[in-house]
């Protein structure tokens, strides 16, 4: 039986040049057997959606530290829908104020991870949801 690794696109938004967090997540997911496409600093909503489509991703992980999540996430979710990519799960990581979390979930974000989230939590979440989607 061929193995079917989960494909995850990770992209970072914002110009603070701080990408350590996302790289730690990338390595943790790799070590858990995922295929991780590090898309780097994301320029536009269109380019991140294009990456998700072309890479046939199961997950999109967005790292947003700039505080612009309430404008960017709705745009991404809408662009994914328009591209016919609503099956792709979206995770958001970064500094997200507590009251915004339910709003993001309402927009269709599967899960929001705060700065101190242990890696195994992210890994377990990605793996469990994949099996649910394919059950």
């Amino acid at each position: 039986m061929s193995h079917e690794p989960i494909r995850v696109v990770l992209a970072k938004v914002g110009l603070d040049g701080h990408d350590r967090g996302i790289k730690v997540v990338a390595r943790a997911l790799r070590d858990a057997g995922c295929h991780v496409i590090y898309a780097g600093l994301w320029q536009t909503v269109e380019s991140v959606v294009r990456t998700v489509a072309d890479e046939d991703a199961d997950w999109l992980g967005l790292s947003i530290l700039s505080g612009a999540h309430m404008t960017l996430v709705p745009q991404v979710m809408e662009a994914l829908r328009q591209a016919g990519l609503e099956h792709v799960g979206v995770m958001v990581g970064g500094i997200i104020p507590e009251p915004d979390i339910p709003k993001l979930v309402n927009l269709g974000v599967s899960r929001v991870f705060g700065p101190g989230t242990p890696m195994h939590e992210i890994v377990e979440f990605v793996k469990s949801r994949r099996s649910a989607a394919h059950a």
């Binding site: 061929s2 193995h3 079917e4 690794p5 494909r7 990338a26 390595r27 997911l29 790799r30 070590d31 858990a32 057997g33 995922c34 295929h35 991780v36 496409i37 590090y38 898309a39 780097g40 536009t44 269109e46 380019s47 294009r50 990456t51 489509a53 072309d54 890479e55 046939d56 591209a83 016919g84 990519l85």
Partner: protein
């Protein structure tokens, strides 16, 4: 989604369908359907970009894409990065280095290659065929790194480009590994760094000594742009190796796979130990390797 729907999507030039079929093919699914496609209506030219880790393969591909686009060609890039043999996981970072443009005429796809086994992803021939079927004119394959698996790429590429860089001790590497034999085109990359001219000289004289077909040696820098248009022109104009009829490289691929397989045989480990302790000489070790690890011996 059903496979028939994906093929329907391919005909309508739906990129999601292409992407999904590539995922399936890379996992060994739907390969028979792809084989049955027969020869492509419009064959693409396939380039393999190879060279050791960090030599700048992805960066250079990123610079070549607009060159092909200016010449009116659509481009698909298949970027291979190593997969961990232990976890099956992979970090695919080439795309980021290429600065993937938002252009319908460009498709970039990251693929994992089983490390330790080969420099390209599994079923790459089928993946290439899918990109061809979709209508891409030029297909660029980035391999994991120069070395043992590289003969595999010869079977599928019209041209193989080997990248070397100055000041890394690479000189010694390529002389030992005989990697010069692989290449149809040599690029001394990072030509903005000191020592590039010297490496170019060494490579040229090594090629001369080796005889064989004339292999162009180009000095290129992705940082300054030096040599990029010339490289694109060379890729467009050099005659293709006849990839589909290249039974010599198909033979090499099979022979190599066989040897890799046999080296994992316990008898191979024993022979290595005997040779290292001086109990047998290398000729005998090699002869017995072939005998004692053959299928019948297993």
């Amino acid at each position: 989604m059903l496979e028939s729907q994906l093929w329907q999507g391919m005909r309508q030039r739906d990129r999601r369908s292409l992407a999904r079929l590539i995922t399936r093919a890379s996992r060994g699914l739907g390969i028979e359907t792809i084989r049955r496609l027969g020869p492509p209506e419009k064959p693409a030219r396939v380039f393999a970009i190879t060279g050791s880790g960090g030599v700048g393969k992805s960066t250079l591909i990123g610079k070549l894409i607009p060159q092909f686009r200016e010449r009116g060609r659509t481009v698909a890039v298949l970027a291979c990065d190593p997969e961990s043999p232990l976890t099956g996981g992979a970090l695919l970072g080439d795309r980021f280095r290429m600065g993937a443009p938002l252009d319908d005429g460009v498709y970039i796809r990251s693929l994992a290659a089983c490390s330790g086994r080969q420099a390209i992803a599994d079923h790459l021939d089928a993946v290439i065929r899918l990109c061809e079927e979709f209508g891409f004119d030029r297909i660029i394959v980035e391999t994991v790194g120069a070395g043992q698996g590289d003969t595999a790429v010869r079977a599928w590429a019209d041209l193989v480009v080997l990248l070397l860089q100055p000041e890394t001790g690479d000189e010694l590497q390529w002389e030992k590994a005989g990697v010069l034999e692989i290449a149809d085109l040599m690029v001394i990359h990072k030509a903005d760094l000191p020592g590039a001219d010297r490496v170019a000289q060494q490579v040229r004289s090594a090629l001369e000594v080796a005889g064989g077909p004339v292999v162009p040696v180009l000095l290129v820098s992705s940082r300054t742009g030096q040599g990029i248009p010339e490289l694109a022109t060379a890729l467009e104009t050099l005659p293709s190796r006849s990839r589909r009829g290249d039974d010599r490289s198909a033979f090499l691929v099979d022979a190599q796979q066989m040897l890799i397989h046999r080296l994992q045989h316990p008898a191979a480990t024993e022979l290595l130990a005997k040779w290292r302790s001086g109990r047998i000489d290398i000729q005998e070790a090699l002869r017995r390797l072939l005998e004692e690890t053959s299928v019948s011996a297993q």
